[in-house]
């Protein structure tokens, strides 16, 4: 699973995801992509599950690019622990995704397979998405 090698700080504040994507909203590598339509925090497990679903549908033909990286540590308090006494321990990593962000790209497969792979990948993500294709291809 994806996670940073080293970070400056162990824990991060939650924050809010506001506005739309400023960059990464157009296809850069592949011919098809999966674009987020709502803001969301995507965990490294979800990214990996989506990647796996896509590569298995594509039967190891073609290529998948992951355009997001989970660099935000999310902490969690242990169960049955009272509130207070400091912030919980880092539990997992997530990527903050703004609407319009291309999260995955695919190339090297037919239109039908690419769309089906992206549909299966999107099912693993906690966000409404849309399949986009390179202009001229659709």
């Amino acid at each position: 699973m994806l996670q940073p090698k080293r970070t400056k700080f162990r824990k991060a504040q939650k924050g809010r995801i506001k506005g739309t994507a400023k960059g990464g909203s157009s296809l850069n590598f592949g011919s098809y992509g999966l674009k987020a339509q709502k803001p969301a925090r995507i965990t490294s497990r979800q990214i990996e599950a989506a990647r796996r679903a896509m590569t298995r549908q594509m039967k190891r033909v073609g290529r998948v690019w992951i355009r997001i990286f989970p660099d935000v540590p999310v902490s969690k308090k242990p169960t049955e622990v009272r509130m207070g006494k400091g912030k919980g321990a880092p539990e997992f990593w997530c990527a903050k995704v703004k609407p319009g962000r291309i999260m995955f790209e695919i190339d090297g497969v037919s239109d039908v397979i690419a769309r089906e792979a992206l549909r299966l990948g999107a099912a693993k993500l906690p966000v409404k998405t849309r399949v986009v294709a390179r202009l001229g291809d659709n």
Partner: protein, 229 residues
Amino acid sequence: MAEFQEIKATAREHTGSAATRAIRRAGRVPGIIYGDQKPPKTISLDYGEVWRQVKTGTFLSTVFTVDLDGEKTRVIPRELQLDPVRDFPTHVDFLRLGKGARIAVEVPVSFINEEESPGLKRGGVLNVVRHTIEMLCPAESIPDSIEADVTGLDIGDSIHISNMKIPDDVELTITDRDFTVATIAGRMAEIIEEVVEDLEEGLEGEEGIEGEEGVEGEEGAEDGEDSQD
């Protein structure tokens, strides 16, 4: 070469975000025409007409004749702004073209004879490094696309710009190096990567169970985190 397309436009008097939003609400796309040592003109175009042209994929390399309330101007789209979420056009910049103008345009690359590549037949992937190539060409003869022939290419081979046929009246903007346009990559490296990941996943599953046992304090969780590294 793409034929000149005609596109109808109307002048818009007001500028600024409020005025442009009103234009978009009315089903039109705001735009501007500039260049050729003449003052810029703010215009608006029909949304459906712009979207039809954008969908072709060659919008930025097609010369248009803008009919601005009867006055015809030869232009080329320089920038197309799209809504980041829904991908509809929100603004178009047009560059006015004078007589004999040479312009830098991004021409799409099309790959041909993919069935005749032994590398692709063996399960290799065509890894496109550049989907478009920037070139300087006369406004009258902008190529529709540049063909890249992958006949006879095996896994590990690549297509460089020197292997491609470029029209005579066209000049490349990158001249200092023979850049790569596409490569044919093998699948072996990725398959090994996946197998390693599957093994790692198995190990992580075991660690996860250990982590659940040690939930008493922060120290235990920290140890778990270190062991994952």
